[in-house]
């Protein structure tokens, strides 16, 4: 593959060794992109197998044990090996230094270490899969996870190691944003994607250690019988849930905040407008990062948690929902009076907004506590978090992949094909997950290898949708791979975007900028003169 620019980070050393020892944030970003895409494929294949098994009640292609292992591996792979690193580690690494006019992240060697920690953790997890894999679900609820005979330990250890990779990445971004902004680039001029990554990093560094401790305790319980969560010794399984969700609820925001950043960038770039309310998006990002820590108990309304606890967590969850609602209105407002280019990233953006809104509103419904008693642990929850994780985050991930593909590789992809694939993905998504909402309403619990026959028709619909999704992903993989080599040369700024990352060449040279850019205004200021809203 010969990159179009004469001199770029891609051509600066072509050996494998030069990649494995690189400190260049862009190469590290690309490495993460490749790794996370690989695990997205793995997790996606698990998902497809699950959907095929659910075509019929009773056994379709696998037994209960295989099914239980498969949904655990699907969850573990998608959450820790794909979702959490996908946007921050891949796109964040690539773009944040470019967006703030820096040569690299603050600690390039640590950054490289985070790649290897991720690879090590992923390898241990994969080894666990070959050992037969855990059958606990990605939530590792005790006492099941401490008593089951499957290979839980390697998965725990693998996730524990990946946690360090996450922490290192987060630490790096916080230090980078604080200290390496180019002269004149003040906080309130930062691109919204940088804000999103910054908020995400705060969550990463503060929440992940708690997960590490919880996993350690479960591992100790399995190995030496530590007994902290063992009811037979007076321990409390609900305490495990508290500690686990103290990490895992904010982890949801680790997955979705960066995608909101992507959308904030894309919606400005493709409507050629400034953000409708920059400050609301910034404050709501920080709000989500902090208030997101105080809502974990809404996963426990049916667990025997006290009424007081449920009330407090329910109310806090409502506050978090507000921050998301604000963002959606701001994005819609950005489209107003813009010059909207119908390109694949914009199609993904529109899908994202709709799915995030719908999934988010169902989340609000759960926080009303009384409705949660019906929906908790049913397919409604499965559909809800897939709306957020797939409908929002994967859409944003695909949007980011298309928006920044020319930036990263200097090539264009076939636009018409990309648009059709985007529509197909959105359509497939709706067909897959809307039936799951209805299944949840009917009362179909999650993690069921087998189900009473009256649930079947909706399951069939969902599986049909999943195959559409899979087909859509195949198309995207095919044309993007093709474009890497044969795509038209993109030029420095094919979208005509005023995002700061486009101020360097595409693909950028190793040290990003030949001359440090100046930042008289914030990003995406397309208009020449100010027009009051009423105009």
């Amino acid at each position: 593959m010969s990159p179009p620019a004469a001199e770029s980070y891609l051509s600066d050393g072509r050996t494998l060794w030069s990649w494995l020892t690189t400190h260049d944030h862009k190469r590290i970003g690309v490495m993460f992109l490749v790794l996370t895409l690989f695990f997205f494929l793995v997790g996606g294949l698990f998902a497809l197998a699950l959907r095929i098994e659910l075509l019929t009640p009773g056994r379709t292609i696998m037994g209960h044990l295989a099914y239980n292992r498969m949904f655990t591996l699907h969850g573990v792979t998608m959450v820790w090996l794909f979702m959490i690193p996908a946007i921050p580690s891949a796109f964040g690494n690539f773009l944040v230094p470019l967006m703030i006019g820096a040569r690299d992240v603050a600690f390039p060697r640590l950054n490289l270490a985070s790649v290897y920690l991720y690879v090590l953790g992923a390898s241990v997890t994969l080894w666990g899969m070959f050992e037969g894999g855990a059958d606990t679900g990605w939530t590792f609820y005790t006492p099941y996870s401490t008593t089951t005979g499957t290979a839980v330990l390697p998965v725990l250890v693998g996730v524990f190691i990946i946690g360090f990779s996450t922490i290192v990445t987060g630490l790096n971004f916080i230090a980078t944003v604080h200290t390496l902004r180019a002269p004149g680039l003040t906080w309130m001029k930062l691109p919204l994607f940088v804000w999103a990554i910054y908020g995400t990093s705060i969550i990463q560094v503060l929440a992940t250690p708690v997960l590490g401790m919880v996993l350690l305790l479960v591992a100790l319980e399995r190995v030496v019988g530590a007994g902290i969560f063992d009811p037979a010794r007076g321990g409390d399984p609900l305490l495990f849930q508290h500690l686990f969700w103290f990490y895992s609820h904010p982890a949801v925001y680790i997955m979705v905040l960066p995608s909101m950043g992507v959308i904030s960038e894309a919606v400005c770039a493709f409507s050629r407008k400034n953000a409708f309310s920059y400050r609301m998006i910034v404050y709501s990002t920080l709000g989500i990062a902090f208030v997101g820590f105080f809502t974990w108990g809404h996963h426990m309304f049916a667990s025997g948690q006290s009424i007081f606890g449920s009330g407090a967590f329910g109310a806090m969850s409502m506050l978090v929902a507000i921050f998301t609602a604000i963002k959606i209105f701001s994005w819609l407002g950005t489209l107003y009076r813009g010059s909207i280019a119908i390109e694949s990233p914009l199609i993904y953006t529109l899908g994202f907004m709709f799915f995030l809104f719908f999934g988010g509103m169902i989340g609000v419904a759960y926080s009303t506590t009384s409705l949660n008693l019906h929906w908790h642990d049913t397919y409604s929850v499965v559909a809800h978090f897939h709306f957020i994780m797939v409908g929002a985050t994967v859409m944003a991930f695909l949007g980011a992949l298309h928006y920044w593909f020319p930036k990263m590789f200097g090539r264009c992809f076939p636009a018409k094909l990309a648009n059709s694939a985007a529509v197909l993905i959105i359509f497939g998504f709706i067909t897959t997950f809307v039936p799951q909402f209805l299944l949840g309403n009917m009362g179909m619990p999650r993690r069921y290898a087998d189900y009473p026959p009256h649930f079947q028709s909706l399951h069939v619909a969902s599986t049909a949708g999943a195959s559409l999704l899979a087909f859509g992903f195949l198309i995207i993989a095919a044309y993007l791979a093709w474009s890497l080599k044969y795509g038209a040369v993109a030029g420095d700024n094919p979208w005509g975007s005023d995002g700061f990352e486009w101020r360097s060449a595409s693909p950028p040279p190793t040290h990003n900028f030949h001359v440090t850019p100046e930042y008289p205004t914030g990003p995406h200021e397309y208009a020449r003169e100010e027009v009051p809203h009423a105009a």
């Binding site: 987060g170 200290t179 560094v205 250690p209 030496v224 019988g225 007994g227 409390d236 500690l243 030949h514």
Partner: protein
């Protein structure tokens, strides 16, 4: 290869220092939250089993615990003096102070080992192995499990800290640091103080009240 106009990695010396400090503080925050899970477990179980926790606590060796507290606080003072010495361009003295602090850390670990051996003899072991006849109540085994987890994790940090201090001490004694480049000593010192502060909280909840 890069043209002249490209700025260096750190735009300024200030940025380098601030990145180092901020990175260290963020790291310290993750350490604090690492212990959070254990402190929470302690709080919950103490509130549920007050009598058992009290009874188990009365069997702890307050003398050794207090000795250890004094050891760590003194070593912290030594490290603070060492940072001052290095900043004041006396890296030799700084190195000696750091090594002395590391020595106190090793003594701390030794005292901890003595304490552990007493508990092992009495059967005050974590989890399944708990066989302590003096406090047979439900919940006491949780106290001992948490005792081992808290002090064990802390001891691990002390071990890391001792290694860091030793390396810094040797390098400082050989003149690697000075007023213009004291950052590693400052950061290593911050880590050691963190270890100290965590112990300051572990000490009262496990030994005193």
């Amino acid at each position: 290869m890069p043209p002249e106009a490209v700025t260096e990695h750190w735009g300024s010396e200030d940025a380098r220092k601030q990145a180092a400090y901020l990175g260290m503080w963020v790291f310290i925050a993750t350490e604090v939250l690492l212990f959070a899970g254990l402190f929470t477990a302690y709080g919950v179980y103490r509130s549920v089993y007050p009598e058992a926790f009290r009874a188990a606590q009365l069997t702890m060796e307050v003398g050794l615990g207090t000795l250890n507290t004094f050891l760590l606080v003194s070593s912290s003072i030594l490290v603070a003096l060492a940072v001052h010495a290095v900043r004041g361009n006396r890296p030799g003295l700084g190195g000696a102070l750091l090594l002395a602090a590391a020595l106190l850390g090793i003594v701390f670990l030794g005292v901890k080992g003595v304490e552990y051996s007493h508990h092992v003899r009495e059967g005050g072991l974590p989890g399944d192995a708990y066989r302590f006849a003096e406090v047979p109540r439900v919940g006491a085994s949780l106290f001992f499990t948490l005792y081992y987890l808290l002090t064990g994790l802390h001891a691990l940090h002390v071990t890391v800290g001792v290694s860091v201090l030793t390396v810094l001490g040797v390098r400082s004694a050989s003149g690697a640091f000075g007023p213009s480049y004291a950052t590693p000593v400052e950061l290593g010192g911050m880590y050691w103080h963190l270890v100290d502060v965590i112990w300051l909280f572990v000490y009262p909840i496990l030994y005193l009240s």
